[in-house]
Symmetry: C2
Subunit: 303 residues, 2 copies
């Protein structure tokens, strides 16, 4: 930026420019796969992306953010975005763009003032398992981008070590999925495009227990939680079938159908979140939250 | 219906008919308030509405469902809808309507084949409190209809006794909110349009503790849960500040800002759901789920 408060001479104002179209193409799956990039929108998400970029660059890693486009208005309201790109290792500068350009990039009627193009940040499964994870969430055949993002955000809150998306799940780089993560996408490792059976085999080999979240599961999550609390108070628990204190890979299925029979068969146990009222079931985000928090609580108490 | 498989002669086919417009007006708040009615869409939600209607009529109450419109196709796939209206006390019959008509009624591009017009079902606060409730969820200034519905569904799953919407919250009869409840709207009493201070005063007088869910709260929900489990194992808990076993009114705030200072000041305590990872916060539905399940678990263990 040349002078605060005025659009600089090199501001992007043509919504039909090639660069604008290139960003817009990242809204579609094929566009993203071709460039191995995705975009994030809005001050909060871009801030998280830039923070992750900074940590990565400072550690000598490869760049996470490739470019940032923002309106003058947005930069005035969020000077921290300039700070986050203005340090020595950043290799970034923010291009000023008009609202029309930002709107054309993200196909939204009310653009949020800032867009960052990011390189894919998912990591190989081996890397996740080598780090001795204690809680992993895996999504199988989850179709709704909002649900995928919500589960990732809940996994972050519960302190999970990674989130894995099976090859039949929605793309986590989908703009709506990215938005639903509220920045959590940059907080914990993500693995994608992997086969459920491969993940389960590798996780078991790495010493993780595998639990399938299933409304009809034979193990009751509340019972497992109570047993875990009882162990903390040094009570004798006869015949406990699973200890929540142990490292666990949780499997979550499609929002409407849940996990398929052959998917559940891969797990050590099927665990139900009890429904106390007359709700037919819990929604995916809700069920995943309760499961992941149950593991987190048990493990932290045991630490 | 005259003959299965064919549209009967009196099928509604004109999307501009007065009756169609009357239903369509229920999509807006003023239209709903004028008629004190709302609509539900889709086989699952209509089934829940009809089930609630049946129970109410059998008990000599006033009707919940006023009318049902369905496509021939939908009735073929869901014969239970006909069964649920075909009994003696029902006072209902299903009008067959074309997809164009159903689409015009609900302003959706892909109509779900069936629409029911229902009378408002909310109840007075006094009725809820007289029933000696153990868990109540109250939403204050919640703006997003999807969030409101998700919290109601989670409250149903956790076995809550009622959900209360403050007068500054989104209308639970909004079509998107109704849809997000996945039928739970018909499972537990709902109170709406009430003032937070009035509700808190009445709840306290009825013996309920009042907890405000707040990311910055001084009480940690996990600690309260552990103390509750410890009591179940007859451990001594010195200085416990709140017992989750007691009847509780939970307050949840706006999805972005949370509860306002003066709202939190009305509660006995501010309770935080711990965030173990680096997520900035939990989303509303997630936080409410964890809180309501914590109460449910503690109370059921104490029973």
């Amino acid at each position: 930026m040349s002078e605060p408060g005025r659009p600089p001479a090199d501001a992007m104002t043509n919504p039909r420019a090639d660069r604008v179209r290139d960003v817009a193409k990242l809204a579609g799956r094929s566009g993203r796969l071709k460039r191995e990039q995705f975009f994030v929108e809005g001050p909060q998400a871009v801030r998280e992306a830039l923070q992750a970029h900074k940590e990565c660059m400072d550690a000598g890693g490869s760049p996470i953010v490739e470019s940032v486009y923002a309106s003058v208005e947005c930069l005035k309201r969020h000077p921290e975005l300039l700070e986050l790109t203005g340090y020595r290792n950043s290799k970034l500068h923010i291009r000023v763009a008009s609202d029309m350009v930002l709107s054309a990039m993200t196909d939204t009627v009310t653009p949020q003032g800032v867009v960052a193009v990011c390189n894919f940040i998912d990591v190989p499964l081996e890397e996740v398992l080598a780090a001795k994870p204690k809680i992993i969430a895996m999504l199988c055949q989850v179709r709704d981008p909002g649900n995928a993002g919500t589960v990732l955000r809940a996994a972050d809150a519960a302190g999970a070590d990674a989130v894995i998306f099976s090859n039949s799940s929605v793309d986590i780089y989908n703009p709506k999925a990215v938005r639903s993560t509220a920045g959590s996408l940059f907080h914990l490792p993500v693995v994608r495009g992997v086969d459920l059976a491969d993940v389960v085999a590798a996780a078991k080999a790495a010493g993780l227990g595998v639990l399938a979240a299933d409304g009809y599961g034979q193990l009751n999550l509340d019972l497992l939680q109570d047993e875990s609390a009882a162990r903390a108070f040094e009570q004798q628990i006869p015949d406990s079938q699973y200890s929540l204190e142990q490292p666990t890979l949780w499997l979550f299925g499609n929002e409407a159908q849940g996990l398929a029979g052959e998917e559940m068969a891969l797990a050590d146990h099927r665990v139900a979140v009890p429904v106390y009222g007359s709700a037919e079931s819990l929604n995916l985000g809700t069920a995943a939250t309760v499961c992941l928090y149950a593991s987190a609580r048990a493990q932290r108490r045991a630490d």
